[in-house]
């Protein structure tokens, strides 16, 4: 299994003000094309039930995940237990990035900083 990080953009339903200024597809395609990631995908809202189901269905112990979304403190609070339930470890496996209130270029730079 590849040890490249997986990038998940949590886009807060697309209706929250924090991401209104971001060109989501520019960010995702630049991450996929320009950074050494296993994949880059979008989830509309990891913090509610179908977000839990995403982790339960997809998380594999040992893989690294970069989650672009809201406040990292909140991300930890919302994902930690679900990830532990499926044998993962949030602190070892997830890097949470706050990508709110910024254009795609700035968000891409933050993701690149973590990967490169």
């Amino acid at each position: 299994m590849s040890d490249k990080p997986r990038f998940v953009m949590c886009y807060c339903t697309g209706e929250c003000p924090g991401f209104q200024g971001m060109n989501l597809w520019q960010l995702i395609n630049r991450v996929r094309n320009e950074l050494d990631v296993e994949y880059a995908i979008v989830h509309p809202q990891l913090c509610v039930d179908d977000g839990d189901r995403f982790w339960r269905d997809n998380l594999k112990p040992g893989n690294r995940y970069i989650v672009g979304g809201c406040d990292p403190r909140m991300q930890r609070k919302m994902f930690k237990d679900t990830i532990a339930d499926v044998g993962g470890n949030y602190d070892d496996q997830v890097i949470a990035l706050d990508l709110r209130n910024m254009p795609a270029e700035e968000a891409f730079a933050k993701v690149a900083e973590v990967i490169r």
């Binding site: 339903t13 929250c16 003000p17 924090g18 809202q45 509610v48 809201c70 909140m74 609070k77 919302m78």
Partner: protein
Amino acid sequence: MSYYGLPREVIPWFPTVDVDVCAGCQECFDFCGNGVYDWDDNDGHPVVVNPYNCVIGCSACAKICATEAISFPTLKEIAVLIQQLQKQQLENAA
């Protein structure tokens, strides 16, 4: 605001706060980016001031509430209601 053609106000999706259980930590107030809450400094708990700013399907504030003081309808209830409203809307348009 509307929800895919339905007036937002006909869909009762918004948080309800049990102030007796609320610990006053302000996480919900700080977290919500849509201005659903205001903070009552006197009583030290959130007040839902813009319920229809709440994004349908979003219950993140309830998830981060340490004392489970925030509740929402179930998505199932809302889905059934939305179907009824859409059906009614079609009948009215016919």
